[in-house]
């Protein structure tokens, strides 16, 4: 039983996500104001070319994309843009990269490339872990 659960867990981690649709060019106009991006969540498919145009509504803000290591900086009235290819599937945080006020480190958004398999896999792993727990206790008792 333990072996079966371990095999399923391995499969959950390793099985590749289904192939995505044909790549597109996607344009997002993102507003940045203390302390949120609007829209806060961006979605794309793997292979898409993403352009984000950042508009600041109050002070200078930045936008840094975790995992892609690209960023842009916009001042009020002076938008900035960044373009990159969404080559990696998954969930990536968007962070403000310019100190903009007290809650600056927590000014976050997210980019989801492809379906959110990260969340699905994590939930499946947690489920398997919960199922495995009694087995490990039984083994210890033996």
């Amino acid at each position: 039983m333990t072996l079966a659960l371990a095999s399923v867990a391995l499969a959950v981690i390793l099985i590749p996500a289904p192939a995505a649709a044909a790549p597109l060019e996607r344009f997002f106009r993102v507003g940045a104001g203390q302390y949120a991006f609007t829209p806060a969540s961006l979605r794309a498919n793997p292979g898409d070319t993403i352009t984000i145009e950042l508009h600041s509504t109050d002070v200078t803000h930045g936008l840094y994309v975790d995992g892609y290591d690209v960023s842009a900086e916009a001042q009020p009235g002076q938008p900035a843009a960044l373009t990159f290819i969404a080559s990696r599937a998954g969930v990536f945080r968007l962070r403000c990269s310019v100190t903009c006020g007290t809650l600056h480190p927590f000014m976050l958004g997210r980019l989801v490339v492809g379906p959110n398999w990260t969340l699905a896999r994590a939930a499946a792993l947690a489920g398997l872990a919960v199922l495995a727990a009694p087995l490990t206790l039984r083994k210890a008792a033996e």
Partner: protein
């Protein structure tokens, strides 16, 4: 359960018995603590450029929740600088016992305070203002100065470390999660303690102070009340105190049923979920509400926070335990009231892993600020180590997500194990409690991933 007595090593025991390493660590930390207060009051109001904010809420917090608590339990309490001044005033000595009677009123801590209800209250109060405390250097400085003043004031009135035992909001959750740590202080042989007339570990002796935490080590079964100050190790004339390495979660093998600790567990879970939504979520309105102290939006946020921590989470948990009692085999069905608190021990590893996952989200992303503020601690334009101008760059972003998932999966697994043990000890079925823990894990995953 296997244990390895670290104190069997003569050199390690000598190092632990010596007061110098612990005193030097605490004294250095006190200097840092006072500098945090000074930098908060005099330095730049920009949190990410102020030593106080970054040293406390990024550096110290990361070390505490990702390393010190999971690995050493109350290891932080052993070197915490907050009780140092009060100890000195009370004892009239910085190191070993002077032989003089304790100074101050030296009253016993009232029975009503010999639990962590007050700590829960203080933590709740600080949690409600956390968005301001975490980001405003002056408020952080005033909060820490207030804790220092309270520790000194209480040491003048009550015996031992009253602040640590009854008030410290940090000590409350460290004690709760210390039950999961692989380090414990216990007596080597309880029969030796039973035959001991002096009870020097509690009363003190020429070589060590009586337990500052008011604990009689022979009765110590869990880590939550032991501050690892090692005074009993120094005081015991029978050499009967051991510092042991043990498997993770040693105290949770036989869970205890304490309602104050159960509510601490709900409070910590609720706070982790709330902070994940407020601080790490994309909702600007929530952040603004948490920050606007006193406004109607903040009052709504405070009410929601209190409802989640003291209404929703305990209410759903009560239902889960009740279901577990109904589903239990008839011969085991006891429907004891203590099952609620007993089952809540499953939330100890769950909460610890929630906080680890939450902290991983921002600690590494903001680590570069640590280098900035060590070079320019007050934000006055200094550049002591040439790192003041380092541009912000998040670290380990590709590792953050897998580590968070790992922490949450471990938390769910661990909670399920503890739930089974608690169920076996009580009179309920583990499945609903396990389901509760799994549901909260999914909620946290939804917020973080």
């Amino acid at each position: 359960m296997k244990r390895l007595a670290l104190t069997r090593s003569p050199w390690l025991k000598a190092a632990l018995k010596s007061r110098w390493p612990q005193f030097i660590a605490a004294a250095l930390l006190l200097a840092g603590f006072l500098f945090v207060i000074v930098s908060g009051l005099l330095g730049t109001p920009v949190g990410s450029r102020n030593f106080g904010i970054i040293a406390v809420w990024i550096l110290w917090w990361a070390l505490l929740i990702l390393a010190a608590v999971p690995l050493a339990g109350r290891g932080w309490c052993a070197v915490c600088p907050i009780p140092l001044a009060g100890d000195w005033l009370q004892r009239g000595a910085l190191l070993g016992p002077s032989g003089r009677p304790p100074r101050g009123l030296n009253r016993r801590l009232p029975k009503a305070l010999r639990n962590i209800w007050l700590q829960n209250g203080v933590f709740t109060l600080m949690a409600l203002f956390s968005a301001v405390i975490l980001t405003n250097p002056r408020v952080t400085a005033l909060a820490l100065a207030g804790m220092l003043a309270a520790a000194i004031g209480l040491s003048a009135v009550y015996e031992r470390r009253a602040f640590c035992r009854a008030v410290c909001p940090v000590g409350g959750f460290i004690g709760l999660y210390a039950q999961a740590a692989p380090l414990e202080l216990r007596v080597a042989d309880t029969a030796v303690c039973a035959a001991c007339a002096s009870k020097a570990c509690y009363n003190g002796s020429e070589s060590g102070y009586g337990c500052p935490w008011g604990v009689f080590p022979a009765g110590l079964a869990r880590n939550s009340t032991c501050g690892l100050c090692l005074e009993c190790l120094r005081a015991c004339p029978k050499d009967n105190i051991a510092l042991n390495l043990r498997p993770f979660g040693g105290d949770l093998e036989k869970p205890a049923a304490r309602l104050d600790e159960a509510f601490k567990a709900f409070l910590m879970l609720g706070a982790a979920l709330a902070y994940a939504a407020i601080l790490l979520g994309p909702w600007g309105g929530l952040k603004a509400a948490a920050l606007a102290v006193g406004s109607p939006a903040w009052l709504a946020y405070a009410a929601a926070f209190l409802f989640i921590c003291f209404g929703l989470l305990p209410g759903l948990f009560w239902l889960a335990v009740r279901l577990g009692q109904v589903f239990a085999a008839p011969r085991r069905r006891t429907a004891r009231r203590s099952d609620f608190a007993l089952a809540a021990s499953a939330l100890v590893p769950l909460g610890l892993m929630f906080w680890a996952a939450f902290s991983l989200s921002f600690v590494f992303a903001n680590a570069v600020y640590v280098l900035n503020v060590f070079s320019d601690p007050l934000g006055w334009g200094w550049d002591l180590f040439g790192a003041a101008g380092l541009a912000w760059q998040p670290l380990l972003t590709s590792w953050g997500l897998p580590l968070q998932i790992g922490a949450l999966v471990v938390g769910a697994f661990w909670a399920a194990r503890v739930a089974r043990r608690a169920a076996a000890q009580g009179g309920f079925h583990a499945l609903p409690v396990t389901g509760y823990a799994f549901g909260l894990t999914l909620a946290m995953m939804g917020l973080l991933l």
